[in-house]
């Protein structure tokens, strides 16, 4: 007669075990049901598309209870991507103010995390964390859907009981810590080739170098310092052909630019595509648009303008006169 009674008791106990630790229960429900509100700043749309990719059949974030909602009042996560310019700033602050607490903020993409290549723009109002407290950074230009999912999972695991009470999680201040040693090592190693080091802010450095030393420094960054090559951008100014090679150290949230200036009349530089293949097509495109000759490049044939431009005419190459002064 006793046996059924005791069985019932243990069953009831188990049910209570689920309910009693109320804080844990709340926390768990919150983690399992994150509704995302997507704030797109002045974005180039690539991050937006990657975010949408997360919700498509291939990745399906609804598995984890993550939904995209239309109203900030329903949101648990504010996902910010794109550059925050003067117009966006007011709106982002207003949206953040209207969000019901607890709200988590995730900065997506190079622009959201650091400002990316727009840091020096006169409309730039600072990376997201300058305006509102950010809980997770997902760097990349754009980050892959896998990276976004990994970031959100890390955010969910980080979000403990203590943080729930505060409403927002403090930012983890690892960013910018590794800045000093990096530059010093580069300075020691390539002393003569470094023309100028400009520290724009705590996570963005522009190093102007001698173009002859580019392959060595890039290889050092890539192989020894574990930097990742993001992209390169070129510009034709009166000083000559300027190329910015953007490198990122994702673990430190640091973006490092190698800046070279090539001669106006004979723009030539060693190709980086033998170190990492990521620069292959961007160099090919620069060759096509600017006429910069990349030495030892595997294939410099025209990529997009085939048949539209005559040989030797480069659309982005400018002709400067003295009156431009």
């Amino acid at each position: 007669m006793d046996e059924p009674d005791s069985c019932n008791c243990t069953d009831i106990d188990r049910i209570w075990l689920l309910i009693i630790p109320a804080v844990g229960f709340k926390d768990y429900c919150f983690k399992r049901s994150l509704w995302v509100f997507h704030f797109g700043g002045a974005s180039c749309n690539n991050c937006d598309i990657e975010i949408l990719d997360c919700l498509t059949p291939r990745h399906d974030l609804e598995r984890f209870g993550i939904l995209l909602v239309g109203s900030i009042r329903h949101a648990d996560v504010l996902l910010v991507n794109g550059v925050i310019n003067r117009h966006d700033k007011e709106r982002l602050l207003e949206i953040y103010r209207q969000a019901p607490r607890p709200i988590l903020v995730v900065a997506v993409g190079a622009c959201g995390c650091t400002g990316g290549m727009f840091t020096e723009s006169y409309t730039f109002e600072g990376p997201v964390d300058k305006l509102i407290p950010v809980d997770a950074y997902i760097p990349g230009c754009p980050p892959k859907p896998e990276a976004i999912i990994a970031g959100i999972i890390k955010l969910v695991n980080k979000n403990g009981k203590e943080e729930m009470k505060k409403g927002a999680i403090e930012i983890n201040p690892v960013i910018g810590q590794t800045r000093g040693p990096d530059i010093n090592i580069i300075r020691e190693k390539f002393g003569s080739g470094i023309l100028e080091v400009a520290v724009k802010n705590e996570r963005r450095i522009v190093i102007s170098i001698d173009s002859a030393l580019l392959p060595e420094i890039a290889e050092h960054l890539y192989r020894t310092e574990n930097y990742r090559f993001i992209i390169a951008s070129a510009l034709h100014t009166k000083r000559g052909f300027e190329i910015h090679y953007h490198f990122s150290k994702d673990t430190a949230g640091l973006i490092l630019n190698l800046h070279v200036i090539l001669d106006n009349n004979k723009p030539e530089i060693e190709s980086l595509s033998n170190i990492f293949n990521a620069s292959n097509w961007i160099e090919r495109e620069m060759h096509e648009l600017f006429g910069i000759n990349f030495l030892n490049h595997p294939n410099q044939e025209k990529l997009i303008s085939e048949g539209n431009w005559a040989e030797g005419i480069y659309p982005m190459k400018k002709t400067f006169t003295d009156t431009d002064e």
């Binding site: 049901s33 019901p100 607890p102």
Partner: protein
């Protein structure tokens, strides 16, 4: 009947607790089917409960600055009560617990509109212009589908030999064939399914809460506890409306042996139909929706009524 029994009916079985749990299950079913239709994996089984408890326990409630905070907070409560009351009146006869009363079909018909009216009132009380747009759309949508729904119920009443209580309607079908087994029954069922689609505000009739267009419309200002109650109302409606359909068209439930399985499958089949309609259609404009109900669905219902009068 004593007060404790009434409260038990209202709060536990077949009232609030039961319809909420069953509705949350159907909400998961709906989302899972949607995911499978789109070749996705879909949410876990307990997802509706996570959503509800997160909104109820964790999130902050924000009151509108311009508007009427009291009405804004009260209307979700009205919605839950109306939906639960309708659920009790539907389920008591349906589950063979109690017989109900004379004319309860009409009472259920009125109770089923309370959630929609509460949403409208809450939306207008929030003072948000997009919510006002959503509220006006919901109002027009009600004007569209209510006449059709009334015609459907009139058809059912005619079919069951002028009986206006649910228990008689169910008994009538148990003796003969279910009403869906005749031509007029099929026509009425088609009209009723679209009415339900409108009542649940699911695609193609989700224009009151079109999230990509007026950002959740009538629910735009709701957060925290009131929004949890709205979600709860949605779960409840997703259970009791298909249950009402089963009672009206498919001969109700029965609970001896294998028939329990059939009863559950009937509900799931209706929800599956609703889900498939919502996954294979785009959102239409409010003008198109009113036209759809006012002309085509009413036409179907009237044809069905004529067929019933001639005995089909």
């Amino acid at each position: 009947m004593n007060l404790a029994g009434t409260l038990f009916y209202f709060l536990v079985f077949p009232g609030l607790l039961f319809v909420a749990v069953a509705g949350a299950f159907l909400s998961w079913f709906d989302r899972k089917i949607t995911a499978r239709v789109q070749f996705r994996v879909g949410p876990p089984f307990l997802q509706p409960y996570f959503d509800f408890f997160k909104l109820l326990l964790v999130k902050e409630t924000i009151l509108p600055k311009h508007g009427s905070p009291m009405l804004f907070l009260l209307t979700p409560v009205f919605a839950v009560f109306g939906a639960t009351l309708a659920g009790v009146f539907i389920l008591l006869p349906l589950l063979n617990i109690e017989a109900g009363f004379k004319g309860d079909v009409l009472v259920i018909f009125y109770l089923l509109t309370i959630p929609s009216f509460s949403y409208i009132t809450g939306a207008l009380a929030s003072g948000n212009p997009l919510a006002a747009v959503g509220g006006s759309r919901e109002m027009k949508l009600i004007l569209g589908y209510e006449l059709t729904f009334l015609l459907v119920i009139a058809g059912i009443v005619m079919k069951s030999g002028q009986q206006i209580d649910l228990v008689e309607i169910i008994a009538n079908q148990k003796d003969g064939t279910p009403f869906i087994g005749s031509i007029s029954g099929i026509l009425l069922f088609i009209a009723a399914i679209f009415c339900i689609q409108g009542k649940l505000a699911l695609v193609p009739f989700d224009m009151p809460e079109a999230e990509s267009e007026i950002t959740e419309g009538i629910f735009i200002e709701y957060s925290g506890v009131p929004y949890a109650l709205i979600r709860l109302t949605k779960y409840i409606m997703l259970f009791i409306l298909p249950a009402f359909m089963v009672a009206l068209f498919m001969g109700g439930f029965s609970f001896d042996g294998i028939h329990i399985l059939w009863s559950v499958l009937k509900i799931l089949a209706v929800v599956l139909l609703i889900t498939l309609i919502r996954n294979t259609n785009p959102r239409i404009k409010i003008r198109q929706a009113i036209r759809f109900f006012a002309i085509w669905m009413n036409l179907i219902a009237v044809i069905a009524l004529i067929l019933i009068a001639f005995g089909y």
